[in-house]
């Protein structure tokens, strides 16, 4: 088990290909950072309840967490460090008990001290939400049995079963520590207000417009934050954000921009702009509905996959969309990810596309599904949903299949998939911490994994997965992952993973100290950012 942990950590650390500038200078103090939040503002401010990064990018600077991803090494998948605890605990009871010592001298912004009870109450609110409170990540903690706070300085997590997925789950950036006194009075206080113990204090929040913070002088991480304050401005349109960086109305946005935006900024601003890039732990999935004819026929599904020229598509789309890498079920760069040689045997990954398309036409003819005209459900988000969808539609045209895109807002998109009311669907998903075995669980049949909308049935696939989960030797687990992948993409042709996302963050060159990670949810408390002006 330890070996598994080590391999994963090592490979993840070296493999992500994050491009970091060397920051040899000592951080300067002072200045105000203007950054943009790439979304409409307006959901509640409660991190326990919300899932959109719009909330996280606005509120993370105000809060502390129990543990977090190392802000100096955020691309690592295993480098977790203490935030409010004093040292990372060594599990006892055969991996069932984790006891955290909480820092002394930490204050909430209202001056009240923060102790272990606040930590425990906040975590209970996330994992065991009280009546009338909705927690978005309740389902991420099936392993937690109970949380105890025996004294002011100790919080103990007791698990139902030992698992490696506990620590990554505990490093969840959404798990803000709230004040128990405030929660006792009003469980909904944090939906409308901000009161944490993080590096910044709220100065004002203009609904839907901007959020302003100033340095918290009582912050417990020494020397931090470096900034005097920040203005986070909501700007949902990419072009506004590009223009704003160009005119220096704001220094950057943290989510990620398209390649064309990067090229434009680099061309116009030259060395006044710096760019950080990283593979992004978000994948695109093309899902045929197995309950709809003729997609109940594996030949038809295979033919559709074969029509797609992923390698050339990747070359082209990386210029116009936030996607880049051809991959299988696993985040590219993880030791569990398939190599090119392992992928090229799958439909949709072949290198001889003419041959593949001829074969696809033959399969369609054999299945009696020539000249098919169908609809593909897609979400009305440009990057990358519509771009990838538009690419796929043209690929299908090349084997004589006419696909019309049914592009709808998020709500109907989700509802139609949940109701099975679609022929084909374009999906994309983002995960926070790379965890290949847990993450690939999303390809399991709907009966087991409720958010899988292929509506297929494959006992063999499930059997392989169950063996993989219990396997502790990474080498053997990797072999099982290949068998599982083969079952999903090739044998069953259940779903086709298409290009993985690629994160590009262009920023004004005077912004220093921030490091990109493989998820736009991580490393957002701004404490280590400084301005070189």
């Amino acid at each position: 088990m330890r070996a598994w942990l080590l391999t994963t950590g090592l490979c993840a650390a070296m493999a992500l290909g994050a491009v970091w500038p060397a920051d040899a200078q000592a951080p300067k103090r002072g200045g105000t950072l203007n950054y943009m939040i790439a979304a409409d503002g307006g959901p509640s401010l409660d991190g326990h309840k919300e899932t959109t990064y719009a909330v996280l990018h606005a509120t993370a600077p105000f809060y502390s967490n129990l543990i977090r991803v190392n802000p100096e090494n955020p691309s690592s998948t295993t480098d977790f460090i203490c935030d409010l605890c004093t040292e990372m605990p060594v599990p006892t009871d055969g991996g069932l008990t984790f006891a955290f010592k909480i820092r002394g001298g930490v204050q909430f912004h209202d001056g009240t001290p923060l102790d272990a009870h606040d930590v425990a109450v906040s975590w209970r609110r996330i994992i065991f939400p009280p009546e009338g409170v909705s927690s978005a990540r309740e389902a991420a903690y099936p392993m937690v049995d109970k949380i105890e706070d025996p004294d002011d300085r100790t919080v103990i997590f007791r698990l139902k079963f030992p698992t490696l997925s506990f620590m990554p789950a505990l490093a969840d950036p959404w798990s803000f520590i709230y004040s128990r006194k405030v929660l006792e009075k009003d469980q909904h206080f944090y939906e409308r207000n901000i009161m944490g113990s993080g590096p910044f204090k709220l100065t004002s929040y203009e609904i839907g417009q901007a959020i302003h913070g100033e340095r918290n002088p009582a912050y417990y991480q020494s020397g931090q934050p470096y900034l005097d304050g920040f203005n986070g401005i909501f700007a949902p349109k990419q072009q506004t954000r590009v223009d704003a960086i160009r005119a220096d109305r704001a220094a950057l946005e943290f989510r990620g921009m398209s390649p064309s935006a990067r090229d434009q900024l680099v061309k116009e601003l030259g060395d006044q702009v710096s760019v950080q890039e990283s593979d992004w732990n978000c994948g695109n999935v093309f899902t045929p509905n197995h309950k709809k004819k003729p997609f109940d026929d594996v030949r038809v599904r295979k033919a559709l996959f074969m029509a797609v020229d992923q390698w050339h598509g990747a070359e082209a789309l990386r210029k116009i969309a936030i996607v880049r890498t051809v991959g299988g079920l696993v985040f590219p760069g993880s030791p569990f990810a398939a190599t090119r040689d392992e992928l090229i045997h799958f439909p949709g990954y072949g290198t001889d596309i003419e041959n593949a398309r001829a074969e696809a036409r033959r399969l369609l003819k054999e299945a009696g599904a020539e000249g098919l005209t169908v609809e593909m459900l897609n979400r009305n988000v440009d990057q990358p949903y519509i771009i990838v969808g538009t690419w796929l539609v043209d690929e299908f045209r090349k084997i004589g299949v006419t696909v019309r895109q049914n592009i709808v807002p998020t709500g109907p998109w989700l509802e139609k998939m949940r109701a099975g009311d679609f022929d084909l669907a374009m999906e994309a998903y983002c995960q926070m911490v790379v965890n290949p075995i847990a993450d690939s669980g999303r390809y399991l049949p709907h009966e087991i994994y409720k958010e899988n909308f292929a509506y297929h049935d494959d006992p063999k696939q499930v059997e392989i997965y169950n063996r993989m989960v219990r396997e502790t030797d990474p080498a053997k687990a990797r072999v099982l992952m290949r068998a599982y992948e083969n079952q999903v993409i090739n044998v069953g042709a259940h779903q086709l993973p298409t290009l993985w996302f690629y994160r590009i963050v262009p920023m004004r060159a005077y912004v220093k100290g921030w490091k990109i990670s493989n998820s736009h949810y991580l490393n957002q408390n701004l404490a280590n950012i400084w301005l070189d002006q």
């Binding site: 398209s258 061309k267 050339h312 082209a316 538009t390 895109q405 709808v408």
Partner: protein, 294 residues
């Protein structure tokens, strides 16, 4: 600006060609508009034959290329030929514009005339319903239609048509009301003619002038509405070639690095709506007896 020449009265002996010629002579702006409309219509009808490329075929070897001999108007981010997309877009614009205008106008005509003719409760109900639709924000209707039925061309047409109906029925009703009080309508009733006959023979022809002017302006409005809906992601959907859609997403993203992507579809919309409006204005001047005297 001078007083009325005697030949201004409609002359039944004049042939269609003569009237057309006269229209051209008297309304140079309108003729220019008509010309634009005709070009657009011809382009739309013959799109398959005159477009140099398949408007939906991606060409990754020619992404965001500036105008050249090969691609007269350049290519978009998928390498699709803009010229071909604009040519096929003329057809989409025609379909959306004409269908919405005709359906919206015709329903408005029926509602307006019958509302005016029957009066009383029917009139009251029709008027209240059109109040509701008129006051209701178009964007909500469109969002709801698209979210419920999906975003195809026919649903876009539906979303655009609904708000046009009450606007047309209002105008038609107003002119029909004045005709209803004319003695000859009462005479027709006295003669025992049926409602349908009176409406069709006497009322409809008399509201034709404002009706035609309105329907013409609807075509332009519908094309603009489609563009706005597309901009909000609620219009026609990729990869269908449509002018409004061509201004959404990519166009804005590449506006400074590949301006042709944003400029040409915008110009196409402008010219089309300009043409329709110029023609509509001239038509109004020609049809409206009050304005004829110049």
């Amino acid at each position: 600006m001078s007083a009325t020449p005697a030949d201004d009265a409609p002359d039944p002996r004049r042939t269609v060609w003569q009237s057309a010629l006269r229209f051209c002579r008297r309304e140079p702006l309108g003729t220019f508009g008509l010309l634009l409309v005709i070009i657009m219509a011809l382009t739309g009808f013959s799109a398959e034959w005159i477009a140099p490329y398949n408007p939906t075929a991606n060409d990754f070897a020619a992404m965001t290329e500036p105008p050249s001999l090969e691609h007269l108007l350049g290519t978009d981010q998928f390498g699709r030929d803009l010229m071909s997309r604009i040519i096929h877009g003329a057809r989409t614009a025609l379909i959306v514009g004409l269908t919405s205008a005709i359906f919206g106008g015709f329903s408005g005509l029926v509602l307006g005339v019958s509302s005016a003719y029957f009066g009383g409760k029917i009139d009251l109900i029709v008027q209240r319903l059109s109040d509701i639709v008129m006051a209701f924000p178009l964007i909500i209707l469109a969002l709801a239609v698209v979210a419920i039925f999906g975003p195809g061309v026919q649903n876009v047409i539906l979303a655009i048509t609904i708000p046009l109906i009450p606007r047309c029925s209002r105008v038609v009703r107003a002119s029909a009301l004045t005709i209803r009080s004319m003695p000859y309508v009462d005479a027709a009733r006295a003669c025992g003619f049926g409602h349908t006959r009176i409406i069709l023979r006497h009322m409809v022809p008399n509201v034709m002038a404002p009706f035609l002017i309105m329907v013409t302006s609807f075509v332009g409005q519908a094309i603009l509405a489609e563009a706005s809906l597309s901009y909000l992601g609620l219009g026609v959907q990729e990869p269908v070639p449509a002018w409004g859609l061509m201004l959404q997403g990519g166009a804005e993203e590449y506006a400074s690095t590949a301006p042709w992507i944003a400029i040409f579809p915008g110009v196409a919309i402008m010219l089309a709506v300009l043409g329709i409006n110029l023609f509509g204005d001239a038509l109004r001047d020609a049809l409206d007896p009050k304005l004829r005297e110049r």
